[in-house]
């Protein structure tokens, strides 16, 4: 469906630039819209609406209005067909989105070898995308899992030196396995003496974690590392709380917990009293701090007043993706004097630095990965002014510390 653009103000229309086509610029987006993970599409849509409105009311991109069409990633058998449709039939000139790592890997050869359109990934987090491919048309603006997990290892090594036994749980697919591999390998270098429980994996959308929780209890860890996300992350915390896991462990780390959707679902009532619960993510609405970084403040306030909630990370990354495209196109236009080709936009995106709600993001030349700093924060309940628990005691890891060099990864390619 279309996120219909708001009418363009007259003055923007008047200033038509030479070499710029007059028809609207179409961008194709894909996220989960229906089903269990439909909330991600919803978050993306909200941010896109905002971005499109802002851009169009100030004259569009080089005078072209922006239109975004969305397709549902939940139509599992037809992901690539639907992507192709947006480009070949609906005339999308650029693509953004993609939630699932599996889909992003499938999509890569199609975009690179067949469609040849600039594609900005806003969610899927597998290191393989940027580390194992020689990307030309594809970029990832969102933080991926590796820096967050490496930061987690640093956090443990620096702050929780007393850790002896570690247990882990993750979703039962590539992301879960990779996440554990990265964290454990990174941590083994820093704290070689810890012992590890055989990692556990639960299928996506698991309802009942009791079995996993009791298995952890039988091992008796003092730290649990969990890469569960979304509803699973919330369910786990709630059930672990009532099954007493947080009474016997000291630390609980989840690289995906710092998502407002998850925190909202956890609710103040389920924040454990005893153990320290730490979370991270691709964006945290209170970071960079509003007083020093007004862009984030404006984004958060606008989002809050428009939708009545604090922006989740997918909203921030999708929002940034549109602005990254805008910046790249404008940069390329300045260089060329005409509407840029796909390759021109690629060239403009490489090395581009763009200010997003999550802070300045630099897109690396070598692997097309957007880099920015990583946060870890401690879960705090009953924060005044917020309807859900928030992250407190933020630990910031500069991207230089935690991003592997381009094309390097703990995960096996291929």
């Amino acid at each position: 469906y279309n996120l219909a653009p708001k009418p363009t103000p007259e003055k923007a229309k008047a200033g038509k630039l030479p070499g710029v086509p007059s028809e609207p610029l179409k961008i194709g987006g894909m996220w989960f819209i229906s089903g269990k993970f439909g909330t991600y599409g919803d978050m993306a849509k909200k941010a896109l609406n905002m971005a499109v409105e802002e851009i169009n009311s100030s004259g569009g991109i080089l005078g072209r209005k922006v239109e975004v069409t969305l397709k549902d990633e939940a139509d599992r058998e037809n992901v690539l067909k639907n992507i192709r449709k947006m480009v070949e039939e609906e005339g999308a000139e650029f693509l953004i989105g993609i939630d699932s790592s599996g889909d992003v890997l499938k999509l890569t050869p199609v975009v690179e070898n067949e469609l040849h359109v600039v594609t900005i990934i806003t969610h899927a987090a597998t290191p393989k995308l940027t580390a194992c491919n020689n990307l030309h048309y594809m970029f990832r603006i969102s933080m991926y899992e590796e820096p967050i997990d490496i930061a987690a290892a640093k956090l443990v090594a620096e702050k929780f030196k007393d850790v002896k036994k570690i247990a882990s749980i993750g979703p039962d697919y590539a992301y879960g396995y990779d996440s554990w591999a990265i964290f454990s390998n990174a941590l083994k270098k820093l704290l070689p003496d810890v012992t590890w429980m055989e990692p556990m994996y639960s299928k996506l959308g698991t309802e009942d974690f009791s079995t996993y929780i009791d298995k952890m209890l039988s091992y008796g860890p003092d730290l649990v590392f969990s890469s569960l996300w979304g509803g699973d992350a919330a369910t786990f915390v709630k059930q672990a709380n009532s099954k007493g896991l947080f009474d016997s462990i000291k630390y609980y780390l989840n690289p995906m917990l710092g998502a407002t959707d998850t925190l909202k679902a956890i609710g103040d009532g389920n924040v454990p009293a005893k153990a320290e619960v730490w979370g991270s993510g691709r964006y945290w609405f209170l970071y960079p701090p509003h007083d020093v970084y007004p862009l984030n403040k404006n984004f958060v306030n606008k989002f809050k007043s428009k939708y009545g909630e604090y922006p989740p990370y997918v909203s921030a990354t999708s929002y940034t993706a549109i602005y990254a495209l805008k910046a790249a196109i404008e940069k390329a236009y300045v260089a060329k004097g005409a509407w840029p080709s796909q390759d021109d936009v690629v060239a403009a995106l490489e090395g581009l630095a763009i200010a997003g709600p999550m802070g300045p993001v630099a897109i690396r030349n070598e692997d097309h990965q957007g880099v920015y700093s990583v946060f870890w924060g401690k879960l705090k309940r009953g924060a005044p002014n917020y309807p859900h628990p928030i992250l407190d005691d933020l630990q910031i890891f500069d991207f230089g510390e935690v991003f592997p060099a381009p094309k390097q990864t703990y995960v096996k390619c291929g």
Binding site: G41, D75, R76, N78, L80, K81, E88, G102, P109, A174
Partner: protein
């Protein structure tokens, strides 16, 4: 009432026009080509499913399994063993037959809901295997397969040719004495024993043929989509075969084909139009049951007969 010969010629004209239109599809652009190609494959799978359901009376709720077997075999042969298109495709056909034989052997002793649930169980089991087994690419599946001839248009003609040939073979089967034995078993398995039919064997034969052509559709789809993932074997995909068939009409040979096209275009349009596209499909399904229980094509033929 029209005379018999006129009726035949009407159908022949309709089919001829249909084939010509299908041959012209690439003129309508890449997306249309893609859409029609995938509609053809869905239709082929549904038609082969319907050999088992409409003709033999067994409702399989796990038929996407064979789509997956065909698809995964092709993908594995190409990506892991480096076989060519033709060899991989032949292997896909063989594996679909082998899986059909083994799973069919275990399932055909059951009928009705038990058969449906048992086939569903096998489908889910193999979904589980595909998710867990790295050799099959695990949850990511296998991707980045090169399309034959490197152009969509030429590959479309491959799909069109193989689909039409498969449909022709399936049609011939339904008009053969074997097809007749399927229908006899469907109508009255009890009596079928007393005319000397080995009911289990008849059912198994139908099951194997049906899995082979579902496998063919799956194998062809892999190269159209250029990837395959475990979700293709989930029961919701199997359910798609069922309702595509019912949508078109299970008692008419071309019913699943009509249903496949209607469904594919409906989903395509609905998704572009609204975020609640599944709701649209749901409403259509409910309406079909309430107002066109014989399927769209079945209804059309009835209506024409009445005139």
């Amino acid at each position: 009432m029209q005379s018999e010969s006129e009726e035949v010629s009407f159908e022949q004209i309709a089919i001829a026009v249909g084939i010509i239109l299908l041959a012209l599809v690439p003129l309508a652009g890449r997306h249309m080509t893609h859409l029609v190609a995938s509609a053809l494959l869905l239709s082929l799978a549904a038609t082969s499913f319907n050999l088992l359901f409409g003709y033999t009376g067994l409702l399989s709720f796990g038929h996407a399994l064979f789509w997956g077997v065909g698809g995964y075999t092709l993908a594995v042969m190409m990506s892991r063993f480096g076989l060519g298109y033709v060899e991989s495709f032949v292997m896909a056909v063989i594996m679909s037959a082998v899986f059909g034989a083994v799973i069919g052997f275990l399932c055909v002793r059951h009928t009705r809901i038990y058969f449906a649930i048992l086939t569903l169980a096998f489908g889910q089991m193999f979904y589980g295997v595909a998710v867990k087994w790295d050799f099959l690419g695990g949850s990511d599946g296998i991707y980045g397969l090169p399309r034959p001839f490197n152009t969509l248009e030429l590959y479309y003609y491959v799909i069109l040719a193989i689909t039409l040939a498969s449909l022709f073979i399936l049609y011939k089967i339904t008009r053969s004495s074997l097809g007749l034995s399927f229908m006899a078993v469907r109508d009255n398995a009890f009596r079928a024993k007393f005319i000397g039919l080995d009911v289990s064997r008849v059912r198994l034969t139908s099951f194997i043929i049906s899995s082979i052509f579902s496998g063919v559709a799956g194998a062809l789809y892999v190269l159209l989509e250029t990837a395959i993932s475990p979700e293709t074997m989930l029961w919701t995909h199997s359910a798609e075969f069922v309702f595509v068939t019912l949508l078109g009409g299970p008692r008419v040979f071309l019913g699943p084909l009509v249903g496949g096209f209607i469904y594919s275009f409906l989903a395509d349009v609905a998704m572009s139009a609204t975020e609640y596209w599944l709701l649209v499909i749901g409403v259509v399904l409910v309406a079909i049951v309430l107002f066109f229980p014989h399927g769209v094509l079945g209804y059309f033929l009835k209506w024409r007969e009445k005139r």
